[in-house]
Amino acid sequence: MRALAAGLGFAAGRLVQAMLVMLAILVIAFAVRSALGDPLREIMGEAVPESERAELRHELGLDAPWPVQLARYLGGAVQGDLGTSTIYKRPTLEVILAKFPASFELVLGASLIVLLLSLPAGIYCAVRPRAWGARLILAISVLGISIPVFLTGIFLITIFSVWLGWLPAFGRGETVRLGFWETGLLTADGLEHLILPALTLSSIMLPLFIRLVRGAMLDELGHDYVRTARAKGASPLRVWLSHALRNALLPLAAIGGLQIGTLIAYTLLTETVFQWPGMGFLFLEAVTRADIPLITTYLVFVGLLFVVTNTLVDIVSLLLDPRIGLEGER
């Protein structure tokens, strides 16, 4: 009972912390907007007389003291209103959410590749550490760490699009609308377009995850329960998969979740190489054309992704392993 209360208290504390971080991000976004953006120019353009400007400024409450404006901004943010994009003339959140499916599907594709390859490769390297294949896998992953993700993309395009002409190099291809979600996963053309970007994005995560899986498995294989399971006559494969792997997965998921910031940055690079119409590509367009409301909304959205992931990882880790919470409380 006491453990449950401690657990709930921990979760509540994390939620409060998450909300404070979000508040800080919103205040920063507000400061950037006030310092860099001129909402009047966004609405009226340059060629409007000063008297009309002053009038509109008063009407919109832009001559109010900054605490009032900040309160208004935060109030709007709670209702999902973070301003209007100067490029698209539409609410910024709407513009970003429209691009979210593209980025999400790219990350999903890359994660599937990472999962399908890093688990067997990592387990193999852990259970047969001296095998020739294991050494080769580790050597390749060292090389993989040294190749920047945008170069991997460029090389893949050179080989598979320019030389061989097998796969498309740019864009998402044909997409299907499912409500608000525009998916490229349901058409052959969309899937074909996904292969190279997803491979590129996975290439930067694979070496890390192979090492993580290997390390976690090596740790688990040294425990007594593994020896017990073997002594009971369980087959090696069963011991690896259902005993050791299950215990190794939790720290892996936690580390994976904590890498979300890096993942977003690499996704942005991948989207730039393949002109993949996702959030990162949109952000760079906003930067080039100085669309301040869109830039700040992207900051808030990325901040939200970051905070939600980190909080979830913390709480899920606690649910699955109560020791983490108790250690944190001390």
Partner: protein
């Protein structure tokens, strides 16, 4: 950067030299470093001087290919710039940014790590927690945001003018935790040793003790971290320049060259992208390789392997 006495480095250096990977990495780096230092003498033209090249020469393939021109060993880029000169000067920028960024990282991280490891208690808690938070923020993402805001505020031209110091600071400040963590762990080990207690008993002040006695003894792991961090900084600079948030086209680094050539790759001009790309990979692999060799050489437990 290494405060260790000459007699101390001699033995690890010999160990690096016994490791074939280490020899290759070190030699490649020496060649690159020489080429970069002597770039003004080796390079046929100054790629940062717009007057020294002609747009009419643009897009010439490397000299060994059909259509190549013997004046341009590796061909020319979209502006007619000699690619060999551009790669030399671009590598120079990449190495400069990497080097200074790592100096900043060490200048922030090592003192904090020494303090945390030696003083312990609240100072330790604060530094460790701050390092955790900083690491979770992802350097590349923070750098992208910082440079994007700078560009949105002052325009692409100002970003170009201040690109080198900006890149150094942005990459340097965000990556201090790696040095701090390493210095902290090593300091904790050293602080418990007899020579530290003896020095304290002799009345040597805390600062002097940390600087003169502990720092030289924790130099080995710091040198290893410096190599890894150097590779990371070079890669970050290339990525930022590739995104158009780093070095401008008028003063291209390897990342800028890759980006500017990428537009022409589908027109058949692959060399403007691929050659700087291969140079970048060669640089990163050898810096990482040297780091690995140093780690093996400086870590007595690994030396036995």
């Amino acid at each position: 950067m290494s405060p260790a006495a000459p007699g101390k480095t001699a033995s690890p250096l010999r160990h690096v030299m016994r490791n074939p990977g280490g020899i290759v990495a070190a030699s490649v780096l020496v060649v690159i470093a020489l080429a970069v230092i002597l770039a003004p003498l080796i390079a046929p033209q100054n790629p940062f001087d717009l007057k020294s090249f002609d747009v009419l020469d643009s897009g010439i393939p490397p000299s060994w290919l059909a259509g190549g021109d013997e004046r341009f060993l590796l061909g020319t880029d979209a502006q007619g710039r000699d690619l060999w000169s551009a790669v030399l000067y671009g590598t120079r920028i990449s190495l400069t940014v990497g080097l200074f960024a790592v100096v900043i990282q060490a200048a922030i991280g090592v003192p904090l790590g020494l303090l945390a490891g030696y003083a312990g208690g609240r100072a330790d808690t604060v530094v460790t927690r701050a390092a955790d938070i900083q690491l979770s923020l992802s350097t590349l993402m923070m750098a992208i945001i910082a440079l994007a805001l700078f560009r949105a505020a002052l325009g692409g031209e100002s970003l170009g003018r201040f690109a080198v110091p900006l890149l150094v600071v942005v990459i340097g400040v965000a990556e201090w935790p790696h040095f701090a963590r390493t210095a902290r762990a090593a300091t904790q080990v050293e602080a418990a040793k007899d020579y530290v207690r003896a020095a304290r008993a002799l009345g040597i002040g805390t600062l002097g003790l940390m600087w003169r006695h502990i720092l030289p003894n924790i130099a080995s792991p710091l040198i290893v971290i410096a190599a890894t961090q150097m590779a990371g900084a070079i890669m970050a600079e290339a990525a930022l320049s590739f995104l158009g948030l780093g070095m401008p086209v008028t003063k291209p680094s390897l990342g800028t060259l890759i980006r500017s050539g990428y537009d022409l790759m589908f027109a058949g001009a692959w060399w403007i992208t691929i050659i700087p790309g291969l140079v970048l990979i060669g640089l990163l692999v050898s810096v990482n390789g040297l780091g690995d060799a140093l780690r093996d050489a400086l870590d007595p437990r690994r030396r036995a392997l």
